[in-house]
Structure formats: structure tokens, C-alpha cells
């Protein structure tokens, strides 16, 4: 029986080539996209999922600040983990991890290699993260200073195949004992580590031996809670501990955030976080896009299958007359749809293999190829065959098997009102989806265009940013500045702590010292050099720029932006004195010497913040060089040369301010590109379906067309006759899609403090684009039908 089903299905597929081709093409594209996306989604959700007890492991992060000025940090106070281990019975263990950000140099025998993924970890680390040891004792491995636990790949690098436990390694010049060997940690983790040095080593070396409650840096605190202990109770306990140790003022500005291990991959707004991050929304959008594209392809199958009912009816009728049940007929159709799906997934798999690496590198995701990957790939493929095969097949099968044999045998015209409206609805849904995607693309394009071209209050052209990465470059800043300024093409050079596109930010609470107001106001503070205002082309609207002529600007003068002046509520800012914290939280008196026009150091997602510029050479992390556009080449060559002279062996790490600014919208630009891609696919597959439907309609009406032509209808009459209905459907789609598109895109635009308005022309563009494509598709068939000689169609009767 099955063999007969398969043979019939295969012959049907072969016989109706157009139908099969359209379906297989559409489904292959749809399934390739879905395959890529589903594997991506599964990969993203796999992060940190391999740790035992992952549901009970939490990281303690902090929020600092009040009301509208809150900053979030992934790191937290080093005092936390020891405190939890001492006094919080709800926890099994807590451990600190401090990554060795600049790498560590590891030596053994002839080998001397810089290792990038090393960390300092508390003795309890392997209690929290219960990674199995190949060799060594997890209880005691990190208990002593100068101990190190290494992964298998590190062990192989330095020790070959011998057991490294008990051996020694030289790290940064000191001798360490290898106390444990573990398997390599899977790559899908936010903590990609391969060497664990005991945390006590830091104290032994005389660094960071304190457990402060009132400051924090890059130390992460992780805790494994007991069953049924809520993270909330930990948060409360830590809050009390903090208040007792750091005082009420400090404690009132801190909120602990208890993050589950598996959530960390999705949290991307905490400073100093570790590992690759992913935006859940982004993944969700992808998932929806995959479903939409696949649905459009399935709809084609449904529409084209049911459109063929006249052809298939006879076959169904005969089979029923000679004894087939409805269920046997349904099975026949399902097998056919499953076979089409099977052929399509085969092509998809080839396409998937071809485009996999470029697609994933485009969305900057690393798909981890382990046994899980192959398992999920097979599961996804199987899932897709079944889902698509059935979704596409069930309705046509039920619909086509319904006909009663007499109607069919007698070749009576079957009233097709009901199924016909289903087909119309599906076409409308397809075009709604396509129009939504087109509309989304248009809005995102306009918003990006707006953000890149709107005035930011500074001049982003002809400025190059030189990152001061190495300590040497920071030390030689003055020399670099003097040398670079000598070039005639260089107009201004300034160091800065914050530049657009580089994620560094400093806030301080300042207050006006005139006795009227004791409130501390939080401002963003930017450490700059004398020529910052000049290099950035910022406009001074009151007072003056910093100047060396006055000799006293360092530590004594500041410049505010308009928003800051407003927030501090000062009427005549120039000469006004304000207090700002210096060193050990002591307020120092500084004078406002100038006010600049508002400028936006961040992306336009954010409102302009109140800013304070002050001179502080120690804080510079980058240099800005403003140059004459005509001598750009010379200046860059000069920078290269000078950098090498001042800092032997170092190369300048530079980026143009314009590019650095563009980088702020990387995610939007990427979304736009992807949306264009999805929109093109959606409209392409929808048009394929339309092409099929029109050709069926034309075939069905071939006699009518012949008669009309004999009676004197022109080509355009015939084209209108055939196109009218589909064009109407696209118009209906536009009408339905528009409000939905408006709501969705308006919501997206809320992400931006400065944004475009959605205009009527955007709807018109999306709608007419869809209409034009649909019309074009339909016309291909309609014109062909209209041009055919009526003699041929009429003679065939």
C-alpha cells in the first residue's frame, strides 16, 4: 500500500512540474532560513546550560545610583562571597572570580605563552560550578596560594600527555603548583576560562587583600543556593550586611541584582560583563521571521494544491468509485506533501551547509559544533519535515478528499465558494506579512538615516580617535600630544575619558556652593584636555574654553553643557562655584568657566545628559585628533610614524570618529539588513505562489479568454480580467497591514530618545511596492494568456 502511495505521489510530482517547482523552491528557501534560525536559537539558549545545578547558581550584580541616574555593574563587592560563606545558611557555597583581563604569561621549559582566559577563583569555585575533576581534589585544589587548576587543552599544551597534577608552572614569573585537571569547559558559557588560580594568591602577592563593602571592580560573585532558597532572601540578607558594613548613605544607593546563571547570556546592559551577549528580542524577532517565511511557503502549497482541485477531483472520484475510503485518499495526499517536504529539506540541507558559516558570521554568532549541535540539527530537520508536511498537506488533503464521486464522475462543476475564500485569505495573509517586513525596513532605514545625519552638537567629521590602551601610551600622552600637534595638518589634539562609540562613563554628584541648595545633583563627568572643545567642534555659548593662559584651570575650572546648567538651576553660571568630589569623597570647589551648547556623546537612543567637562590627564583613555581633510593621508602617516617613535614596538589603534559613532547603531544597521533580506524572501515566495495561482486561473479560463478574444477583447482587457482579483487582494492586505505595521514600528521607535515620525508615504511605499511586484508577477501569466491565439484554446474542445 505504502509503495503504491509513494509511486503515485512521485508520478504526480513529476507530472505537475510547475506546481512542484514552485512548491519545492518556496519550501526549500523557507526551510533553509528556518533551519539557520532554529539552530541559531537553540545555540543561544544553550548558554551555561551544561552546569549541574544551573537553576540554583546565581551571580550577584549591582545597581548603583538613584532615580534617573542608575548604572548597572556585573561585578560586585569582593566582600560578598566570603560573607555568604560565613553567614548565609541558605547557600551551599559562594565564590569570587576575577578574570585576568590583560592575560597572564605562562612558562614551562622552552614554552612561554600569553594565556588570555585565566582567572583568580575562590576555593569554593568548584563547589558552585561542579565541574568534574579528571585529577586532583576539587575540595582543596584552590585552597592554597600559588595553586592552579587547568583544563585539558592547557595541560596538553604545557605537559603533553602526562598528568600535570603535582607539577609546577611559572606564571608571571612566580612558581605555581598544578592542583587539578578538568575537562575543557564548553564554549557556550559566559565564563570562558581555562586556568583557575587560587584567589588567595592575590593576597599572597600583596594585592587586593581587603574585602571591601564600599567599592567594587571586576570581581564577580557567584553563589549556589540550597533547594527552595529564594534569591530574594539572599538579596535581603546582602542588603542588611551592606548597610551594616558600608553605612546608610552608600547602602541606599546600591541595589543587588541576583541573576540566574542561564540568564546571564541575555543580560547585556551591565557594565564589565563577561562572555558573548545576546538580545532576547533579537532572537525572538528571528524566530518570528523564520515562522513567517516558512508559513508563507506552506501557504503556497495549500493554495496551489487546492487550486488544482479540478485536476485532482477526477482522480479522487475514480479512486472512491473503485473502493477507496476517505482516509486512504487523505493518506495519499499527505504522502505527496511529505514527499515534497522531503525533497525540499534535502535541498535546504545543502543550502544550509553552503550558507551556514557566512550567515552566522553575519549575525556574529558562533555556533558551537559539538554532539548537541548534530543532535539538534537532526531533531530540527525531523521536526520540520513533520510540521511542514502536515501543515501544508492537511488542509488540501481534507479538502480534496471531500468530493463525492458522482459529482466528479459526472464532471459537474463543483461549487467552490468555501475553499476559494480560504485561498484568498491565505494570499492576503502572505501579503500582509510581506508588507509588514517592507514597512519595517523602510522605517528602520529612515531612522538610521536620521541618526547618522542629524546634528549631534559636535562635528564628527575629520576626527580620528587614538585609543590609549597600554599603560605606556597613557604615560606618554603629553609627548604624543606635543609631537602630533607639530604637524601642520593637525588642528587640535585632546585626550578624553569619554568619546562617542567607546563605552566609558563617569558620573559624579556635584552641588552648587552658594548656600541656597544643598542637593547633590548627578552629572556625567568627562575628563578632557584643553583642546577637547576645539577637536570636537563644540560650540561655546557662554564664558570661555579651558586655556593654559590662565595656568590654573586644572583642578579648578569646569565647563558645563546647557542641560547641566538647567539641572543645577543656576542663572549666571560663569564664575559660579560648585563642589565636586575628588579623591576620598571630599567635595572640592571648582569654578564654572564656560557653558557649551548641548551635544550628544551617546547614541540617539538616549537623551542628552547633563555634562561636566574637567581637566584630568590621568583619566584619558583616548586621544582625539582633528585634522585638515586635505591632509588626511599625511596626518595618518605622521600619526603612525610618531606613535612608533614615542612608543617603540607599538602601533596606534585608531578609528575615525564618524565610524565610531556609526558603531553605536550596529545592531540597528544589522537589523535593517536582515529585514531587507527577510522582506525580499517573503515577497519572493509570496510572488511564486501568486504566479502559480494565476497560471491555474488562466488555465481554467482558457476557453473563456478565447471566446472573449474572438468577441473582440483587447490584450489589456484580458490582463485586467485576470489581474483584477489578485490586485484587489494585495490592496486589502495593505489596508490590514498598515495599522499593525504602525503599532509595531511605533513601538520599536520608542527605543530612541530622538526619532522620526511615521508618515503616510511610508505606508504608500510599502503597499505600492507589494502591489507592483504582485502586478508584475500576475502580468507575466496574464499577458501570455492574453496573447495566445484563441483558435488554439477553442479548437481543443
Amino acid at each position: 500500500m505504502l509503495k503504491s502511495y509513494i509511486i503515485t505521489a512521485f508520478r504526480n510530482i513529476k507530472k505537475h512540474k510547475t506546481f512542484s517547482l514552485i512548491n519545492i523552491l518556496g519550501l526549500s528557501i523557507g526551510m533553509t532560513v528556518s533551519l539557520l534560525i532554529l539552530i541559531f536559537v537553540i545555540n543561544e539558549f544553550s548558554y551555561d546550560n551544561f552546569y549541574p545545578n544551573k537553576d540554583r547558581i546565581y551571580r550577584i550584580a549591582v545597581k548603583w545610583g538613584q532615580e534617573n541616574n542608575i548604572m548597572k555593574f556585573a561585578g560586585s563587592m569582593p566582600a560578598i562571597s566570603p560573607a555568604i560563606n560565613d553567614a548565609f545558611p541558605g547557600a551551599i557555597a559562594a565564590a569570587r572570580v576575577l578574570k585576568a583581563y590583560n592575560g597572564i604569561t605562562v612558562e614551562r621549559k622552552q614554552k612561554k605563552i600569553k594565556e588570555e582566559n585565566a582567572c583568580y577563583a575562590d576555593a569554593e569555585y568548584f563547589k558552585v560550578f561542579a565541574l568534574p575533576f579528571i585529577s586532583g581534589n576539587p575540595e582543596t585544589a584552590l585552597a592554597e596560594p600559588y595553586s592552579v587548576v587547568i583544563t585539558k587543552s592547557i595541560a596538553e599544551k604545557y605537559f603533553g600527555n602526562t598528568n600535570p597534577v603535582g607539577e609546577t608552572l611559572t606564571i608571571e614569573g612566580d612558581l605555581y603548583k598544578v592542583t587539578g585537571l578538568i575537562n575543557d569547559i564548553p564554549e557556550n558559557t559566559h565564563l570562558n576560562l581555562n586556568m583557575f588560580i587560587s584567589y588567595k594568591t592575590l593576597a599572597a602577592k600583596g594585592e587586593k587583600d581587603e574585602h571591601p563593602w564600599n567599592s567594587w571592580g571586576s570581581v564577580y560573585n557567584y553563589v549556589l543556593l540550597k533547594d527552595n532558597v529564594s534569591p530574594q532572601s539572599l538579596k535581603q540578607a546582602l542588603g542588611k550586611e551592606l548597610e551594616a558594613n558600608a553605612g546608610e548613605w552608600f547602602a541606599s544607593r546600591i541595589e543587588f541584582v541576583i541573576q540566574n546563571l542561564t540568564e546571564i547570556h541575555w543580560i547585556n546592559d551591565f557594565r564589565g560583563d563577561s562572555g558573548p551577549k545576546q538580545n532576547k528580542m533579537y532572537v525572538l524577532v528571528f524566530l518570528i521571521a523564520a515562522i513567517v517565511i516558512l508559513a508563507i511557503a506552506c501557504f503556497n502549497y495549500v493554495n496551489l494544491s487546492t487550486a488544482r482541485y479540478l485536476e485532482r477531483m477526477k482522480d479522487v472520484g475514480i479512486r472512491k468509485v473503485i473502493g477507496a475510503n476517505r482516509s486512504q485518499i487523505v493518506t495519499q495526499f499527505l504522502i505527496e506533501s511529505l514527499m515534497i517536504t522531503f525533497l525540499s529539506i534535502f535541498i535546504s540541507f545543502i543550502l544550509f551547509q553552503l550558507f551556514r558559516s557566512s550567515a552566522y558570521s553575519f549575525i556574529e554568532t558562533k555556533i558551537i559544533l559539538n554532539e548537541n549541535y548534530f543532535f539538534s540539527l537532526s531533531a530540527v530537520i525531523l521536526f520540520m519535515i513533520i510540521i511542514v508536511g502536515f501543515i501544508a498537506g492537511v488542509y488540501p488533503a481534507l479538502f480534496l478528499s471531500k468530493f463525492s464521486p458522482t459529482e466528479i464522475i459526472k464532471n459537474k462543476v463543483v461549487s467552490g465558494v468555501k475553499h476559494f475564500s480560504v485561498r484568498k485569505v491565505l494570499v492576503v495573509v502572505q501579503f500582509i506579512m510581506s508588507i509588514l517586513l517592507i514597512f519595517g525596513t523602510v522605517v528602520i532605514y529612515k531612522q538610521i538615516d536620521f541618526m547618522l545625519n542629524t546634528s549631534l552638537g559636535y562635528d564628527k567629521e575629520n576626527v580620528v580617535i587614538l585609543n590609549l590602551i597600554s599603560p605606556e601610551s597613557k604615560n606618554k600622552y603629553q609627548t604624543l600630544k606635543e609631537k602630533l600637534s607639530e604637524h601642520s595638518g593637525v588642528k587640535a589634539v585632546s585626550g578624553a575619558f569619554t568619546v562617542p562609540g567607546i563605552n566609558s562613563r563617569e558620573n559624579m554628584g556635584v552641588k552648587v556652593i552658594d548656600g541656597s541648595n544643598e542637593d547633590i545633583i548627578n552629572l556625567q563627568t568627562v575628563a578632557v584636555d584643553y583642546d577637547f572643545v576645539k577637536a570636537m567642534g563644540i560650540k561655546i555659548i557662554k564664558g570661555r574654553n579651558f586655556s593654559e593662559k590662565f595656568g590654573s584651570d586644572i583642578n579648578r575650572s569646569v565647563i558645563l553643557n546647557e542641560t547641566a546648567v538647567k539641572m543645577l538651576n543656576i542663572n549666571n553660571p560663569i564664575g559660579e562655584k560648585i563642589g565636586m568630589p575628588k579623591g576620598n569623597n571630599k567635595m572640592e570647589e571648582v569654578t564654572i568657566v564656560g557653558v557649551v551648547k548641548d551635544f550628544n556623546l551617546q547614541s540617539l537612543h538616549n537623551k542628552i545628559t547633563p555634562l561636566l567637562l574637567y581637566l584630568e590627564p590621568e583619566k584619558y583613555i583616548a586621544m582625539l585628533v582633528k585634522y585638515d581633510p586635505e591632509s588626511q593621508k599625511d596626518v595618518l602617516a605622521y600619526i603612525n610614524k610618531t606613535w612608533g617613535e614615542v612608543l617603540p614596538g607599538e602601533k596606534p589603534n585608531y578609528i575615525f570618529l564618524e565610524d565610531s559613532y556609526k558603531k553605536l547603531y550596529k545592531s540597528e544597521t544589522k537589523t535593517e539588513k536582515l529585514l531587507v533580506f527577510f522582506a525580499v524572501l517573503a515577497i519572493f515566495i509570496s510572488s511564486l505562489g501568486l504566479l502559480g495561482l494565476t497560471s491555474f486561473a488562466a488555465a481554467k479560463r482558457v476557453k473563456e479568454i478565447g471566446i472573449r478574444k474572438v468577441l473582440g477583447a483587447s490584450v489589456s482587457n484580458i490582463v485586467t480580467l485576470l489581474s483584477k482579483e489578485f490586485v484587489l487582494l494585495v490592496v486589502v492586505s495593505t489596508l490590514i497591514a498598515s495599522p499593525v505595521a504602525y503599532i509595531l514600528m511605533n513601538k520599536w521607535l520608542q527605543n530612541f530618545a530622538y526619532r522620526i515620525n511615521i508618515n503616510v508615504w511610508m505606508f504608500l511605499i510599502s503597499g505600492s511596492m507589494a502591489l507592483a511586484i504582485a502586478l508584475f508577477t500576475v502580468s507575466i501569466i496574464a499577458i501570455k494568456a492574453a496573447l495566445s491565439n484563441p483558435i488554439n484554446s477553442l479548437r481543443s474542445e
Binding site: M1, S4, I7, T8, R11, N12, K15, K314, D315, G317, I318, R319, K320, V321, I322, G323, A324, N325, Q328, S404, P405, T406, I409, K410
Partner: protein, 220 residues
């Protein structure tokens, strides 16, 4: 075998009833060969479809081997027709996508006959109809007469008690037509009941008796 009492068939269209069959009373015994004649639109095919359980009468009683067909639901009807009745049509109605062999095999495939027995029965029929050489051809590779031959072969492969033939020779040359009629006669002689619808007086003569329909009424 078949008893029709007061069978009527009409189509309702906005309160107007259009009658196709009116007060049909007839009995057909097992082993008979009956020809139904009448002009176009006299209701011949409708009568045949009702007898063949492909269609349902609007009024009246239909007894098939003393079972009340008019009281059965669709599934029972389908089972009854499947196991007792074979059809032959004017336009053959072979399945275009299947070879002669597969066309013959399909009815018993649907009845879930085991593979070995299926093969034997198809081989037997192919042999009997002398179409072994054609078994791997598709219907469109055959002449009209050959197609109808295959259609008759397909109709009897499930060994029905009754064969309903709707103008079986309508699309054939007289020579081919004769061949088919001889074949039906032979099947009848072997015990199969046959009801045929025909326009041709000559073909009607093959039957034991002729029923004439006129505008839905039986002409006595």
C-alpha cells in the same frame, strides 16, 4: 437482488424541485443482464448511480440483497458498494498516473488484499483479458478499446456481484464496442449481474431485458 420501490430523485433550486427520476419501481434478480435505455436527460445515469450507491435517492426504498440501502449511512454504503459493485464508464476513468498493472491492482489494494494474492489476481486478469504485454503501459499509451478493456478488468478484479456499465461503448468504434459487449455477455454467463445504460438499440439487445426511461419515468 435489487428492489426499487417508488424511487424519486429531484434537485431543489430556490423552492423549485427539478425531478430527474419519478416513481421508479423495479426488481432485478441475480444473474440478470439488464439494459437501460432512454434519451439524454431521461435519468439513466442517475438511476445507475443510485443503484451503484454513489448517489442517494430523494424518496423511496432501495433494497439490496434485502438490506435497506436507503437507511444506511455513508460509511455502510461505501462498504457495501466496495464489496459488491464494479463500475465501467463511458470515458473509462482510468487513473492516468498509474500503469495498467497498477490500475488493476488499486481496487484490491484499497481492500487490503495481501500482496501475494494481489499479484496472483492481477496476473490472472491480465492473462484472461490478454493484456499481459500492456501491463507496464500508461492509459494514454493505449487505444480507446484497450482502455475500456482495462476498465472492465479493473471493475471485476474485486469479484463484484454486480457490474454497472454507463454507456461502456459510447466512445468506441463499433468493432471495439462489440468486443466489450461480448466480454460483458461472457461475464454475465459466468454469473455476474450486469446493468448497462446505453443509447444503442443494438447494444441493448445483449441484455435479457430492456428498461426504457422517459423524462424520469419508466416506460412500460
Amino acid at each position: 437482488m435489487i428492489k426499487l420501490k417508488g424511487i424519486e430523485k429531484y434537485y431543489k433550486n430556490k423552492f423549485i424541485k427539478t425531478y430527474v427520476l419519478r416513481n421508479i419501481n423495479m426488481e432485478i434478480k441475480e444473474g440478470e443482464f439488464v439494459s437501460v435505455m432512454g434519451s439524454s436527460g431521461a435519468g439513466k445515469s442517475t438511476l445507475l448511480n443510485i443503484i451503484g450507491m454513489l448517489d442517494v435517492a430523494s424518496n423511496g426504498e432501495y433494497l439490496f440483497f434485502n438490506e435497506s440501502v436507503h437507511k444506511m449511512n455513508e460509511k455502510q454504503l461505501s462498504n457495501l458498494h466496495k464489496s459488491y459493485i464494479g463500475f465501467v464508464f463511458q470515458s473509462y476513468h482510468l487513473i492516468d498516473e498509474l500503469t495498467v498493472y497498477e490500475n488493476l491492482e488499486t481496487p484490491i489494494l484499497y481492500q487490503k488484499v495481501k500482496s501475494g494474492e494481489r499479484k496472483a489476481r492481477v496476473a490472472e486478469i491480465l492473462d484472461e483479458f490478454k493484456i499481459v504485454a500492456k501491463k507496464d503501459l500508461f492509459p494514454n499509451q493505449l487505444s480507446g478499446g484497450q482502455r475500456q478493456l482495462v476498465a472492465v478488468a479493473r471493475a471485476i478484479i474485486a469479484e463484484p456481484k454486480l457490474i454497472l456499465a454507463d454507456e461502456p461503448t459510447g466512445n468506441l468504434h463499433s468493432e471495439q464496442g462489440k468486443e466489450i459487449m461480448e466480454l460483458l455477455k461472457k461475464l454475465n454467463a459466468n454469473g455476474t449481474t450486469i446493468i448497462q445504460v446505453t443509447h444503442s438499440k443494438e447494444n441493448a439487445e445483449y441484455g435479457d431485458r430492456i428498461i426504457k426511461l422517459n423524462d424520469g419515468w419508466i416506460e412500460e
